[in-house]
């Protein structure tokens, strides 16, 4: 199976699904859902195989495919995954597979819904497997328009209207991607002289070594990318689309956005920002660390004040992005290891959270913490899911969130002792709001108005079982994740050694 184009197969499976779906009659509701589920199952299976068959001891890019595509621009259809992107690809598939079942009760225009859901998944897969900036951008933007339509058509208006939320999400992400695109163009034009230009991430990563990218260019280009990826990642101050967007979106879209698409920001910062523009990354790292702390603390405080479950998870995910950012900003192998693993853990965790909120909302018709209570009596399974997600969120050992957070703090502490301490204090606030939510929603006296609510059953259990299991398995055997991530860190490590990035030598304004 050496020559089997595994990544293309993973990418194409949902696309085939989309094609089949577009020729289905609109009324065949059940069949449409079955087809979506089957395609995602196949894609997930292929991804699991890829994860299993990846040779960790060898490291580096594997399953490489490279076909020249627009030769005169230097674009090629280049795919490949390494220890950095493979966990995120797996995350995409796990969450994507779950969203199909979470959306099982979508009756209204289900054909369009599932086509767009699959399109969103294709976009996410594409960004993580592409090794060419052009294709990367192409897939990145593929996800934005379906999100808009899905929020507008299938979303819900509570605090803000769904039209407002959808537009806000779209504009933020697209403006971000405009800056990203500008950054990529600047990089493309500056990295090599005309005639030798390329979008290949691998080749561009060599550009700084042969001295083609001066520090000024790197600093400027990284800034543009930071604006772009920062808004994707909902870095402060570009975060405000996220809570509104998640709250208005249908459950499946919230899961994909919070769980997967957000991570493209962090992934891009490492893959493009750090590996291609190391000096730029070095310059901006202290700023990023500062933003990270603001993210953690500010979002945590705001979360405490929220009453709507979706807003709580929305803001808390912004807060968690701070942990990822500070892990990145510390620019050492341990902290970045932690940041990547944290992306995976947070993705699973927030997707599970949103899935559970979706279930609670379906059954009780409210997401207000104050109107809920004692749900563990009526819905023990949902309560289990909530508990798993919540405990992982506050970093309980034994669940997926603990090891990554711990690792990134250990790595970051050496570089930014003060910032890291502040960020760690965020865990306390996280504990505060998570425990308060769990206590108010799940426990306490039994409320009679919810006695009619049935517990999760049938397809509703799929996401709970799948994502919950992953949280526990990764929590208990973190090596499954960390080993993979670490195997991808070799080029990062080489780069950091070359740059002499040590705490005392850190660049930028704190020099």
């Amino acid at each position: 199976m050496v020559d089997f184009p595994l990544l293309t197969a993973i990418l194409l499976t949902p696309i085939w699904g989309i094609l089949v779906l577009s020729f289905m009659p609109r009324e065949a509701d059940k069949t449409i859902k079955m087809i979506s589920a089957v395609t995602m199952a196949i894609a997930l299976g292929l991804t699991l195989y890829a994860y299993w068959a990846y040779d960790v001891s060898l490291g580096g890019l594997q399953y490489i495919e490279n076909v020249p595509w627009i030769t005169e621009l230097g674009v090629s259809y280049a795919l490949g995954v390494d220890g950095i992107s493979l966990p995120l690809l797996l995350l995409t598939m796990l969450v994507g597979f779950s969203t199909i079942f979470v959306s099982w009760n979508v009756e209204k225009r289900s054909k369009e819904f599932f086509i767009q859901l699959l399109l969103l998944v294709v976009g996410a897969i594409g960004t993580f497997v592409s090794q060419d900036l052009f294709i990367f951008l192409l897939f990145y933007e593929l996800g934005i328009i379906p999100s808009y339509i899905m929020v507008v058509v299938w979303g819900s208006s509570e605090r803000v209207s769904k039209e407002y939320a959808a537009m806000k999400l779209t504009i933020y992400l697209l403006l971000g991607s405009a800056f990203m695109l500008a950054g990529v163009i600047a990089l493309y034009v500056n990295a090599f002289p005309a005639g030798m230009r390329t979008f290949s991430m691998q080749v561009l990563a060599q550009a700084h070594m042969i001295g083609n990218l001066s520090e000024d260019v790197q600093v400027f280009t990284f800034f543009l990318l930071l604006l772009g990826f920062g808004s994707t990642l909902s870095m402060w101050p570009f975060y405000s689309w996220a809570p509104d967007g998640y709250a208005a979106a249908p459950t499946g879209v919230s899961m994909l956005h919070a769980g997967v698409l957000k991570k493209i920001g962090g992934y891009g910062l490492i893959r493009i920002g750090l590996l291609i523009l190391p000096l730029g990354a070095k310059f901006w790292a202290p700023f990023i660390a500062f933003f990270a702390v603001v993210n953690v603390l500010y979002a945590a405080f705001v979360t405490i004040a929220q009453k709507d479950l979706k807003y709580i998870v929305g803001y808390s995910s912004i807060s968690h992005m701070g942990y990822i950012l500070i892990g990145f900003a510390a620019l050492n192998v341990i902290s970045i290891d932690g940041a990547i693993a944290n992306m995976f853990a947070h993705g699973i965790m927030s997707a599970l959270f949103f899935a559970m909120i979706g279930l609670v909302y379906d059954k009780t018709n409210t997401r207000q913490v104050l109107s809920l209570g004692g749900l563990a009596h009526q819905m023990p399974r949902v309560a289990t899911g909530f508990m798993l997600a919540g405990m992982s969120s506050l970093g309980l050992p034994g669940l997926a969130g603990f090891v990554p957070e711990f690792t990134s703090f250990v790595g970051a502490f050496k570089v930014y002792p003060l910032f890291t301490l502040l960020a760690i204090s965020g865990i306390v606030f996280t504990a505060l709001y998570i425990l308060r939510v769990l206590a108010n929603v799940l426990f306490g006296p039994r409320r009679e108005e919810f006695d009619t609510c049935r517990d999760a059953s049938g397809v509703e259990l799929v996401s709970l079982v799948l994502l919950g299991t992953v949280l526990v398995v990764v929590g208990v055997f973190p090596q499954l994740l960390m080993g993979m991530v670490n195997s991808g860190m070799e080029p990062v490590m080489a780069l950091l050694v070359k740059l002499h990035v040590t705490p005392t030598l850190l660049g930028g304004v704190f020099q």
Binding site: W69, I70, T71, E72, L73, R109, E112, F134, L137, L138, E141, L142, I144, I145, Y148, I149, V152, V153, E163, A166, M167, T170, I171, L174, L175, S177, A178, F179, L181, A182, I185, A186, Y188, V189, A194
Partner: protein, 471 residues
């Protein structure tokens, strides 16, 4: 003298005359539909014939008229645009109830004007081609006698257009006065940077910018677009703009290349202004045609910005953009026509619930609009990449930046249209009908937009070859 080089223009003229004759001979209104198909078939034949001229590079009439890859590229573009416009406009034109045959003939004659513009190699031929096209557009814009808006638009276009032509002609006469020649290559040989020369240059730039609806010469566009019959609006937006680009490129890059230092700054300002004004003002439009008019002002800004590179890469970007812009506009105007045939008006609101009634047309509209906004994997993305990379190379990073940011803002109003189609309920339960030829055009537009976006290679090579033939 090689008259054979003029064959395709002559063929189109003959086709137009034949249509006028047949129109007189055919008594019944219904039979006139076949005139449209006749025109389409004739144009297809001429399109095939033009490939014959591929690779030739020759001039006739003492260098007044040139046939090269650049001219051919635009001629084929104009012919394709006319064919597509004809195809989706049959129902609409029949609805005009009078002079149907003339409509086809006039459309073809305006095509001749554009083809002459693409081949024009001296100022006089430029002017003749331009006027042939524009005068016919004056008639076509006011063609809908039932509509007061159409007559108003025709008058407005006539008055403003004549003024612009006068300005252009005035500029040309200054240039002639100071260089003693009207042939582009000879003008280039006698260029001086005297103030009078620059005045002529500026006046000519203003005249061309009017045709391109570049801010601040854009005021006519929204009203004229709104009032004109939709097929005419489509031709105005796609083909006449591309024709303007063709002459602008040839005149400025062949004749005035040495004065770059003077016009580049002005062009960059005009392009930037067009992007901003076109996109910002489009947000408040409630009429689909007006919205497309403002969007086309912005698109003209994008195309014009390619001139800043003043090299083959930039021109390639512009040619590529002109094609994808046509392709996307064909889709948008086809859907607008379908909706107009259904409800008899062109408010954006009329698109409500289109995704329910005709999911296919809704997808076509969405893809076309997003292509104009420049989102991947639609063709617009690649077009913007080509242009912005070319101008970034020459140090115009700020305008690339502006263009990118504005194009993302433009997504805002395009998305408003998408929202109307997808989330609003349809106005009534009426079955939505669209003719087969219209659906075919929509399908062509959809496939082409996606294909060019995903595999731009072949078209880019064509554009590149055409661009290089200018030097």
């Amino acid at each position: 003298m090689n008259i054979a080089l003029l064959t395709s223009e002559i063929a189109v003229v003959i086709l137009a005359l034949l249509i006028i004759v047949f129109d007189l001979l055919m008594p019944r209104q219904e039979a006139r539909r076949s005139l449209g198909y006749f025109a389409v078939c004739g144009l297809l034949g001429i399109l095939v014939y033009t490939f014959n001229q591929h690779g030739t590079s020759a001039t006739v009439y003492h260098g007044f008229f040139v046939v090269d890859k650049f001219a051919l590229f635009f001629k084929q573009l104009f012919i394709v645009a006319t064919i597509l416009t004809l195809l989706f406009s049959f129902d609409y034109i029949e609805g005009l109830t009078h002079n149907t045959g003339e409509f086809y003939a006039l459309l073809l004659l305006s095509l001749v004007g554009m083809m002459v513009m693409a081949s024009a190699n001296d100022l006089l031929t430029v002017f003749v081609g331009l006027e042939l096209m524009t005068i016919i557009f004056y008639i076509l814009v006011g063609f809908d006698l039932r509509s007061i808006k159409s007559s108003e638009a025709g008058t407005k276009y006539l008055i403003l257009g004549s003024a612009a032509s006068a300005v252009l002609l005035y500029g040309m006469s200054w240039v002639y006065g100071f260089t003693g020649s009207i042939v582009l290559s000879q003008i280039a040989a006698h260029l001086t940077a005297s103030p009078a020369m620059l005045l002529g240059l500026g006046l000519m730039l203003a005249g061309f910018c009017f045709k391109l609806s570049i801010v601040p010469f854009h005021m006519w566009a929204p009203d004229v677009y709104e009032g004109a019959p939709i097929p005419v609006t489509a031709m105005l937006a796609m083909a006449s703009k591309a024709a303007g680009v063709a002459v602008l490129l040839r005149v400025f890059l062949v004749a005035f290349a040495d004065l770059q230092a003077y016009w580049l700054t002005i062009v960059s300002l005009l392009a930037g202004l067009s992007m901003i004004v076109g996109i910002v003002v489009a947000i408040w439009q409630t009429n689909t045609k007006r919205m497309l008019a403002y969007s086309s002002i912005a698109q003209a800004g994008y195309i014009l910005s390619g001139l800043l590179a003043a090299d083959a890469a930039g021109v390639k970007g512009m040619l590529f953009y002109a094609v994808l812009y046509m392709v996307a506009n064909v889709g948008a105007f086809a859907v607008t026509t379908a909706v107009n045939n259904q409800y008899g008006s062109d408010k954006i609101d009329d698109l409500s619930g289109l995704s329910q009634k005709s999911p296919f047309l809704a997808v076509v509209m969405t893809v076309s609009l997003l292509s104009m906004a420049g989102l991947p994997p639609m063709a617009g993305f690649v077009g913007k990449m080509y242009i912005f990379m070319a101008i970034t190379d020459k140090g115009y990073f700020w305008i690339a930046m502006l263009g990118l940011v504005m194009s993302m803002v433009s997504v805002y109003y395009y998305m408003l249209v998408v929202r109307v189609m997808y989330s609003k309920e349809a106005k009534n339960e009426q079955e939505f009908t669209a003719s087969v030829s219209l659906r075919i055009v929509a399908l062509i537009s959809l496939i082409a937009t996606l294909f060019i976006g995903i595999y731009p290679g072949p078209l880019a090579e064509l554009a590149n070859a055409a661009a290089r033939s200018l030097w």
